[in-house]
Symmetry: C2
Subunit: 358 residues, 2 copies
């Protein structure tokens, strides 16, 4: 490409803007803007002319420019602690859908359980001008992160887990009673030595699930010696180590409530490796009821939380909070439900299996 020493200026004009459309349609910038925003002020004949020009010239709206002037982005930031956990992937996806349904956009980001990354993401989101944030905080989120968020005045809520819970909006599931359901079920089946596997990470969900376990055990009159908590990372590999530790304990527990399905997955696999049949020789309960977990064999009995319900409640609340930033903190707690399948040996009605004639 020959580069002429053009003494004047290069013919750079590229982007199609409002002005170009206005010229083509024989109207002013302002009118085009009204058409774009579907204002009822525009006469329909004019609207058609403008829309034709829009089409013709291949106009692309510039949201950055628009929101610079208007001060609005109609965008909510969604920060997920770990998108590779199917429960949260599902949650993120549902939040996205619900926001779109309400006419809002979302920016989804994954902190990967890194508080530093989470801080960077939050900063970036503010720089992008999101009007609100739905945050699933990482384990070990600094209180200062939340305090700074509060100070900044940006509407936000915490979902499924929380830091400084009482002082911020929150939407989540009932971890405490969810685990209780699991323990109740096991006790009803005659188990007394029941272990809790998981909860190595420091966040409210972890603490509450463990507390639910303790409380349920005590409520059933099961003493300290019948309890056993083996923390582990939320990961089948570490879950495997943890369940071996449970099996080595004396007196040996006959059942385990797992932190979540991901942990239960590793537990079930390891039990099988040990020649112990889950649902016959040992009972296992999960948590979350991940969409895919019903196909594990033996099918997992677990505490079900529908990510969609949490997502919809979160979207509902964040949009209300954006509209009324000064209203007080609000909490929405989704109730869990126990889904009985095969892994506790309880009689179960569900379809796909017929092996366990118990």
């Amino acid at each position: 490409m020959a580069r002429y020493p053009s003494p004047s200026r290069p013919p750079k004009r590229q982007r199609v803007t409002l002005v170009d459309i206005a010229a083509a349609a024989g109207v002013s910038r302002g009118t085009v803007s009204l058409v774009l925003r579907k204002s009822p002020l525009v006469r329909s004949a004019t609207r058609e002319r403008v829309e034709a020009a829009l089409q013709e010239l291949g106009y692309v709206y510039d949201r950055g420019a628009a929101s610079l002037r208007s001060g609005r982005t109609s965008t909510v930031g969604v920060v997920i602690c770990n998108i590779t956990n199917p429960f949260y992937a599902d949650f993120a996806s549902q939040v996205d859908l619900a926001l779109e349904h309400a006419g809002w956009s979302s920016i989804i980001a994954n902190s990967g359980e890194s508080p530093e990354r989470q801080d960077r993401i939050l900063t970036r989101m503010r720089e992008h001008g999101v009007e609100g944030v739905i945050l699933v905080p990482t384990a070990d989120t600094a209180e200062e992160t939340i305090r700074a968020l509060i100070r900044s005045g940006l509407p936000f809520l915490q979902a499924t887990r929380h830091v400084l819970g009482a002082r911020t909006d929150f939407v989540g599931q009932d971890h405490f009673n969810g685990v209780r359901l699991g323990v109740d079920h096991l006790v009803a089946l005659g188990h007394r030595h029941i272990a809790f596997v998981g909860g190595g990470e420091r966040h409210s969900a972890s603490a509450e699930r463990q507390a639910g376990y303790r409380a349920a055990m005590i409520a059933h009159g099961l003493a300290e010696r019948e309890q056993l908590v083996v923390p582990c990372v939320v990961d089948p590999v570490d879950a495997s180590r943890a369940i071996l530790e449970v099996l080595a304990h004396r007196p040996r527990p006959t059942a385990a409530v797992c932190f979540n399905d991901h942990v239960a997955y590793g537990v079930v696999g390891t039990l099988i490796d040990q020649g112990i049949r889950p649902g016959r020789d040992f009972a296992v309960v999960g948590f979350d009821d991940r969409r895919d977990i019903a196909f594990l064999r033996p099918a997992l009995t677990t505490v079900s939380i529908k990510p969609q319900r949490v997502a919809e409640a979160a979207v509902d609340l964040i949009l209300r909070r954006i509209a009324a930033p000064d209203e007080g903190p609000e909490r929405t707690i989704i109730s869990p439900r126990l889904v009985v399948r095969e892994s506790c040996g309880a009689p179960h009605p569900t379809a796909p299996s017929r092996e366990s004639a118990g």
Copy 2:
């Protein structure tokens, strides 16, 4: 500066801008801007003064305003076909990391296998001014979607699947030879009647995996009557139906290559329900080697693709394409590797995941 009680306007001033910082630090807007962009032009004494003011006043950078003027966003859009598939969640997460590492930002969006949603997402991304797009196209993506993308001049590439493949940049895995590895393994173990389960969706990955199956079967001299393709949706529920269909076929296949691990998951579960032991009575091969799949029991033999490698190649290519938009289409194909575990009955050592090359 005294603010007289001008009877009209409210004292709205809220946002801290460059002007405020400039005033506080006793310099001009321009200098503050230079500091923000870490320009070496600024004298260090000045820089410190500005940075102090930045800190003091709680300045928040406005990316929208900056990119309006500069014309740059340093952002790449990432469109994922289905974020609830752990393979893609992992991929998205790795893309995000690689971009951040290179000093770029990403906007991640999930089309949920909906072409309409995908179109809306692509439009929105252009409106946000992304400088490039990494697209994992949904099944049934219209050619026009891709053509429009080409016409628009926005640098983009397709990842893992493609439409109009030859004419656009592409980064993906070798589906064809991946499946071949699976078939080869089964044939080496003595299987002759081998079914292919999956591939109900219309996209290149699906077609290529099926073609790989056919080609491998033919290469081993296995006739039409020893082949069997049962399409199914990528979902354990439908996979369950499909494998039952395979079992009902006569002569009955002794092994199945599955479209991916998600399908294999449903297949393994259903086989167990039928009293058929995977790895003993029937052989199963998956595809993807999802990070969690090694903990399925019996452990799944599968074709491994590291999402990280695909992600890094995609980021590398899109950044090069953004830098040189006029260079021709380029293809990067990541080679698969067979990971032998238990589900084919091949001799395997201990442990959850011991891998051997195919």
